[in-house]
Amino acid sequence: SAVISQKPSRDICQRGTSLTIQCQVDSQVTMMFWYRQQPGQSLTLIATANQGSEATYESGFVIDKFPISRPNLTFSTLTVSNMSPEDSSIYLCSVDIQGGEQYFGPGTRLTVT
């Protein structure tokens, strides 16, 4: 398994500002993922973050809105840019472990006012 931490755990932000969410893993992993979980909804993949290459974004998500960094094998950041109330969600990072299991961090609860 893997131990994953996220910062901040929650934040309240004003419309038009940006927030950077950090994800730290206790072991080196090749693939990290960022998900969004809107209120009462299931998880939607935003992008896959690979170390040493640009993130791969899913349909409906763009780099200008959700820039991602992956400077090493244990860390990644997701920025939510120019926020609007529709961005209010829980943002989750996850990692892929040998054997195919995917483990999730505790999430960052974002409220945009």
Partner: protein, 114 residues
């Protein structure tokens, strides 16, 4: 398009009343089916991975089974602490995006009453 459908959306059980949650899936080819538990305000907690039809896995009061079209999460003699949302996800054999991405169902919210 890969699809995962979970039923029921919500389930209320009395403590000790066994039941099953369903996860139906449509994928081009299955590389794995995953069950997670999610408590309010927390990230999903990994429970099981199933890879082929006929496979079963158990953990305490939970048992997951897999057929070619669906998976069941059986809960035997549940306790109030089993109350949570249970999520099912599939990893398709061929995906247009990340080779390891998961497609999630909408979840079953389980409430076990004392």
């Amino acid at each position: 398009e890969d699809q995962v459908t979970q039923s029921p959306e919500a389930l209320r059980l009395q403590e000790g009343e066994s039941s099953s949650l369903n996860c139906s899936y449509t994928v081009s080819g299955l590389r794995g089916l995953f069950w997670y538990r999610q408590d309010p305000g927390k990230g999903p907690e990994f429970l099981f991975t199933l890879y082929s039809a006929g496979e079963e896995k158990e953990k305490e009061r939970l048992k997951a089974t897999l057929t070619k079209k669906e998976s069941f999460l059986h809960i035997t003699a549940p306790k109030p602490e089993d109350s949570a949302t249970y999520l099912c996800a599939v990893r398709p054999e061929i995906s247009s995006g990340s080779a390891r991405q998961l497609t999630f169902g909408s979840g079953t919210q389980l409430t076990v009453l004392p």
